[in-house]
Symmetry: C2
Subunit: 210 residues, 2 copies
């Protein structure tokens, strides 16, 4: 019995993750850098959400970009480089980030919460993925918690049995190199429960069976 399964029994919020993946299993291209955070070719994983999106892609995008009570992300996704914080770094998204909810950033370096416009506040959590999830659950109330990424953060929550749902946007793209999504996750039991197929991506929602 994992805490996530227990959470469902107690009627607590669901923990989900939606993330784009290439056909060869990469969530980002090679040579990620501050100038190119998705890596070379990584933007191609997200074309379904932008150019060429069909109505079905747009519906998926709307579904996954609203209604979460809290988010969790890795430090690299928040950006600003490694080591102690450069406090002038306020994320990639400008003063009104698209989260509109508390965002818990996993880090090894303390930092005061950062309140942005539009309801987004970044909280910096230094004591690991489980305390971060506890805080996110408490903030989310009845709403769901989303693991925003990147790959390493998703891996940690999946490996720990703390993810209830993995929603993959499988792009028809072969990157050949980059950051692999589903390594170091053990052997999770996954069941596809919903598929939305478009020319730009195959969107598959997997339930994680605890």
């Amino acid at each position: 019995m994992t805490s996530a399964a227990g959470a469902r029994h107690r009627g607590m919020s669901h923990v989900t993750c939606h993330i784009a993946m290439s056909l060869d299993g990469y969530a980002a291209g090679p040579n990620q850098s501050p100038e190119n955070p998705l890596g070379e070719g990584g933007m191609r994983l997200h074309e379904w959400a932008f150019d060429g999106a069909t109505d079905a892609d747009k519906e998926v995008r709307e579904l996954i970009t609203r209604g979460f009570g809290a988010y969790i992300m890795g430090r690299r996704m928040f950006g600003g480089g490694d080591g102690a914080w450069d406090e002038s770094w306020r994320g990639w998204w400008g003063e009104d980030p698209p989260y509109h909810a508390p965002v818990y950033v996993l880090t090894h370096h303390e930092r005061e919460p950062l309140q942005m416009q539009g309801g987004t506040t970044f909280h910096f959590v230094i004591d690991g993925i489980e305390p971060a999830l506890e805080q996110a659950r408490a903030a989310a109330g009845d709403a769901d918690v989303a693991i925003a990424g990147g790959a390493s953060t998703v891996q940690q929550y999946l490996a720990a049995g703390l993810l209830d749902e993995l929603y993959l946007h499988i792009a028809p793209v072969v990157l050949g190199a980059g950051e692999r999504l589903l390594e170091h996750v053990g052997d999770p039991r996954l069941e596809p429960v919903e598929v939305v197929a478009t020319p730009a991506a195959t969107h598959v929602r997997y339930r994680v069976i605890h």
Copy 2:
């Protein structure tokens, strides 16, 4: 313009490949051996075709196991070990293999054709993937040619631009190690044209755009 694209224009047969892949991109598990040719856990990639198959899975299976005019496979898929042939080895499938058509086996070692029951004849081709495809096309007539596997053979045909269609059976399984399917294939342009979704697999037919 690749020869495959040219083939379509001349009304020649289509070259397709259907193959099962784990969510983390493996076509076989680790530690493949004569006793365990699919590798550890590799059988889990094929559960959609056996236990737990829904009617939709069965329809996919029927579609992909009949009607091909010829097949091409790598030597490891045919089996019998490396090096010069042990002529007592007649494949994994018994005296009536499920192909019922000519099968061209890519090898570096000559061997006389092996006529089995039920219409299957194994031909051993030592001069490469393109001559093998020419022979398969000639044998297939108007029918399609299937690249039967394994991963390395699929990679070679995809990288050479000789594949018209890739039909992936994406199993909801994370193998963690094994033989990766889509490496060393360059950057093929793929378009999903059909998806059959079941609890056991997500079957996605990709057109290769030449």
